[in-house]
C-alpha cells in the first residue's frame, strides 16, 4: 500500500506547468488505447472478407516453396527448392523425361562422339531467351566457363571437372586460377561447340540434363546483380517478380519455342518456414500444391486429400555408411560384421511404422526411378539386405563382433527428424544381438558440424548418409560415392576392383554395356558392404481440387508446366 498524504495532490497542483501537460498526455494515450481496442474488435470481420479471395489469379498455381539457401544461379543451386525454379525458367541441352527419366534432347540437336571423350554438340534452331536474345553455342560455353571458375565460388563447380582445363580454372588448392576459360570448350560456330573431356565418359551426354549445364544470356554477365534480382532464362516460364525469402511469381512465357509449353498461366511460389502451415493453408484453400507433406500429417493425408495425394519414388537413397578409414571397421573380417548389421535391420517394419510407407526398403544401391533399363536391380544386394536375426547374429560373431562390443550411429539432429529411425535401427540391432546397449544413436548438433566431422574423418562408427541424385543415371549413384577419392565418398571406401569396373563402364561405347558394367561394380558393394542400403525415399505432394494432372519428376519436383488449373 502506498502512503500518500492527501495534501500531496495540492502541492503538486501548485507546481504548475508540468502537471496539465502530463495529464493531457496520459489521457491522450488512453484514448489511443481505446481506439486500437475498437479496431481490434471490429477487424475480424474484415479478415473474413479477405479469406475467400486470397488474391488468387485465375489459372495460376499457388505452390509451397522453401527459401533457397544459395543465390539463385544455375551453377550455384544444389537444393531442390532452387532447382524447382531453374526447372521452370531454363532448358538445357538435355531434359529428363518427367515420367521415364530418360535423357532426351531439348536444345541439343545431336551430341556426337567417336571416342567417348571428344564430343561435338549441335544446337537446335529457333531457341531464344525470354529477353529476345538468341541461344547460341556461346551461351553455353560462357555459362560453363562461369560455373567452373573458382573466383565465382559456384557450389556446383565440380560438375565441370570432367572437362579438360578444369584444374587450371579451379585449382584444387583453392588458390588463384591460371586460366580464365576451360581449354576443353571450343565454339565452332553459332550452333556448334566441341567439348574435350579429361577421360572417357560414355554416359556424359546424359548428365547434361542437370541444371548446372543450362545456357545463360548476356544479361547474366553484363548486369549480374539485376539478373539475380530477376533471373532471365529460356524455359516455359519467366520470372515476373521475386521478393527474396517470401514469394516468387512466375508467368507462362508466350514465346517459348519448346514442346512442353506451360498449360497454366503461371506459378506463385510462396516460402513457408513450416510445412505444417503450408498443409493447413492447403486445407483452407489458400494454397494449391504442397510438395512436402509433413510427417505428422501422413496418418491423415489419405482421409484429408483422398487421391489428391502423391507418394512416388524419388531419386534419393538413404544409407548407413561405414568409416572405412577406421581400422576397427575396415578389413575383410569386418565385412562380415557390416553384412551382419545390415541383416539385423528390419527395414520393412521401420519404413511402415516410422515413415508410413513414404520409404521403401532398399535392396540395391541405386533407386527405382532408374527403372530396369537404367540399371535399377531390386534384390542385387541379396540376402545381405534381408532381415534375418539368426544369420545376422552368426555373421557378426564370425567377424569378431562389434568393435569393442558397441556401435553408435551418428546423425545430425537439427533437420529431418533422423532420431526416430536411428533409434529404431538401433533397437532392431539390439534385439538381434540380445543386448540393450550394443547400438545407440549419436546426435550431432548441426548439419554443418556433422559434415565437418565427415570431412575430418572423425566418425567412429556407421553414420547416416543420404544421396539425392543429380541425374537419373546409375553412374551417379555409384561413382561419386564409392570410387576411390570421389567427391562424396564420405566413408573413404577404396577398392581397386570397384574402380576398375567403373572405369570400364565409363569407357564402354554402348549404353547397355555401360549399365551392365556399373551393375558389376555394384556387386562389389554387395560383398564389401561399405554402406548399408536402408531405404529408397519417396517424394510426396498434395494438391487442391483446382488442379489436375499433377505429377512429380524423379527429383520429387512437381512438373509445373503440365499442371492444369480449374
Amino acid at each position: 500500500m502506498r502512503r500518500v498524504a492527501p495534501y500531496a495532490l495540492r502541492t503538486r497542483a501548485s507546481l504548475g506547468a508540468p502537471r496539465p501537460v502530463h495529464a493531457l498526455r496520459a489521457r491522450r494515450s488512453l484514448r489511443a488505447v481505446v481506439l486500437i481496442a475498437t479496431a481490434a474488435t471490429t477487424a475480424p470481420t474484415m479478415t473474413a472478407c479477405g479469406a475467400g479471395g486470397g488474391g488468387t489469379d485465375a489459372g495460376v498455381v499457388r505452390s509451397s516453396w522453401g527459401d533457397p539457401p544459395n543465390p539463385l544461379e544455375p551453377a550455384n543451386t544444389n537444393d531442390v527448392q532452387g532447382g524447382k525454379v531453374l526447372d521452370m525458367i531454363f532448358r538445357g541441352l538435355k531434359r529428363y523425361d518427367p515420367r521415364t527419366g530418360e535423357a532426351k534432347n531439348a536444345l541439343a540437336e545431336r551430341i556426337e562422339s567417336s571416342d567417348q571423350r571428344n564430343y561435338t554438340i549441335t544446337l537446335k534452331k529457333g531457341w531464344r531467351f525470354a529477353n529476345g536474345e538468341k541461344v547460341t553455342a556461346a551461351s553455353f560455353v560462357n555459362a560453363w566457363n562461369y560455373g567452373a571458375q573458382i573466383d565465382h565460388k559456384q557450389r556446383n563447380a565440380y560438375f565441370f571437372e570432367y572437362i579438360e582445363g578444369y584444374d587450371k580454372v579451379h585449382p584444387a588448392s583453392g588458390g588463384a586460377p591460371t586460366a580464365k576459360t576451360l581449354s576443353g570448350l571450343r565454339v565452332s560456330n553459332d550452333r556448334t561447340f566441341t567439348v574435350r573431356l579429361t577421360q572417357k565418359f560414355s554416359t556424359w551426354p546424359k548428365t547434361l540434363g542437370y541444371n548446372a549445364y543450362v545456357p545463360l544470356p548476356r544479361a547474366f554477365f553484363e548486369d549480374h546483380a539485376a539478373w539475380l534480382r530477376k533471373p532471365i532464362g529460356n524455359g516455359p516460364y519467366q520470372v515476373r517478380s521475386y521478393a527474396k525469402g517470401s514469394v516468387m511469381k512466375l508467368r507462362a512465357w508466350g514465346g517459348y519455342p519448346g514442346p512442353d509449353k506451360a498449360r497454366n498461366k503461371g506459378v506463385d511460389l510462396r516460402v513457408y518456414t513450416d510445412s505444417n502451415t503450408a498443409y493447413t493453408d492447403l486445407q483452407a484453400g489458400n494454397l494449391d500444391l504442397v510438395d512436402d507433406v509433413p510427417a505428422q500429417q501422413l496418418k491423415f493425408v489419405r482421409s484429408d486429400l483422398g487421391n489428391r495425394y502423391i507418394n512416388q519414388p524419388a531419386g534419393i537413397i538413404q544409407t548407413l555408411t561405414f568409416p572405412m578409414y577406421d581400422r576397427t571397421w575396415s578389413g575383410p573380417a569386418k565385412a562380415k560384421v557390416r553384412r551382419g548389421i545390415s541383416m539385423a535391420i528390419n527395414r520393412e517394419q521401420i519404413t511402415e511404422r516410422i515413415f508410413q510407407g513414404t520409404r521403401t526398403p532398399a535392396t540395391d544401391w541405386t533407386s527405382p526411378v532408374l527403372r530396369h533399363q537404367g540399371g535399377y536391380r531390386p534384390g542385387l544386394c541379396g540376402e545381405a539386405c534381408r532381415y534375418d536375426p539368426v544369420r545376422a547374429r552368426k555373421l557378426i560373431k564370425a567377424g569378431g563382433g562389434l568393435p569393442g562390443g558397441r556401435m553408435t550411429i551418428t546423425y545430425n539432429a537439427d533437420t529431418g527428424s533422423h532420431k526416430d529411425w536411428v533409434d529404431a535401427v538401433c533397437n532392431s540391432v539390439n534385439t538381434v544381438l540380445r543386448n540393450d546397449r550394443a547400438c545407440v544413436g549419436k546426435p550431432v548438433g548441426t548439419f554443418a558440424d556433422y559434415r565437418n566431422k565427415m570431412a575430418g574423418k572423425k566418425m567412429t562408427g556407421p553414420f547416416r548418409a543420404g544421396w539425392q541424385m543429380d541425374y537419373p543415371l546409375i553412374q551417379n549413384f555409384l561413382q561419386p560415392l564409392y570410387y576411390t577419392g570421389a567427391s562424396s565418398n564420405d566413408g573413404h571406401f577404396s577398392d581397386t576392383g570397384f574402380d576398375r569396373l567403373v572405369n570400364q563402364a565409363n569407357a564402354a561405347s554402348a549404353d547397355g554395356r555401360a549399365i551392365a558394367g556399373f551393375r558389376d561394380a555394384e556387386k562389389v558393394l554387395a560383398e564389401q558392404m561399405p554402406a548399408i542400403p536402408l531405404w529408397y525415399q519417396n517424394g510426396s505432394a498434395g494438391y487442391s481440387q483446382r488442379l489436375s494432372e499433377v505429377a512429380l519428376n524423379q527429383f520429387s519436383v512437381p512438373v509445373y508446366s503440365q499442371i492444369r488449373v480449374g
Partner: protein, 307 residues
Amino acid sequence: MGRYALRRLLQMIPVFIGSTFLIFFMVYALGDPVAALFGDKAPDPATAARIRKDLFLDEPLWRQYAHYMGQIFGGHFGTAFNGQPVTELMASAFPITLRLTLVAVAFEMALGITLGVLSGLRRGRGLDTSVLLLTLVVVSVPTFVSGTVLQYLFGVSWGLARPSVSPGAPLNELLLPGVVLGLVSLAYTTRLTRTSIVENARADYVRTAVAKGLPRRRIVTRHLLRNSLIPVVTFIGTDIGALMGGAIVTERIFNIHGVGYQLYQGILRQNSPTVVGFVTILVIVFLLANLLVDLLYAVLDPRIRYA
C-alpha cells in the same frame, strides 16, 4: 530529464558491445557453416576454402569480430548466404514484426487492463474468479498449442481468417497471430492490473476523491487507474522487447516472414551476420523500450522525477 536520458543512452554502449560479442562468440562456437551450404553432398574443398576466405572464416575469432564491428560502424551488416545484404533482410523483417508486436501489445493492453480493472473493482465476486480462472488457463497453454488450434479453428474450420499471412503482412491478417502472441502476456497484464487496482483502491487519495464527491468514473480513470498503471507499464515495456525477439514460434506457425523467421533461418544456416545483426537491433530495441518505460514513470506519477 535530458541529462538522465543521455546518461542512460551512454550506458547502452558497453551493453551493445558486450552483447554483440557474446552473440558473435556463440554463433562462432556452433562451428564452421560452410560445409552445410553444399546440401547432402561433400563440399568441393577448393570452393569451400574460397568461401571461407571471403567470409573471414579462416581468421581467428577476435579478428573476425573486429572486422565485423568495423563493418557495422560503416553501416554494413554483412550478407546472408543467399547473397542478400542483412540490412535488406532487416528492412523487410522489422516492420512486419513491429506491426505484429503492436497488435499483440494493443490487444493485451486493451483487454488486459479492462479485465484487470473490472476484476480488481469487483474483488472476490464471480467476475473476478472467472477472470482468474481464465488467465490461469491462458498462461498454462503454450503458444504453439494455442497458435495451431486457433489457426485451425479460424483458418480451416470456420474460414474466418487466413491460416497464413501473405508476404506483405497487412495489419488485418496479423490480428489472429497478434492475439496468439499477446495471449500469454494478456494474462500477466490482467493479473498485474488487478493486484495494483485492489491495492490502490484503499489508498487515501481515493478516499479523498470519493469524499470530494467526484463521479465514480472519474475516480477510477483519473485517480485509481493512472496510479495503478506503473507496474503494468513496466511489464509491457519489457514485453515489447521480448515479443519482438520471441515471436519465433508464432511467426513460424503463421508463416510470417519477420524477425523470428530471419533469426531461425540464420541460426539454422549458422549465418553469423544475420543472427548478430538482428539480435543487436533487438538489444537496442529492448534497451530503448526500457528507457521509455522509465521516462513514462514520470508521466504517470509526477512524484518521480529525473534530474
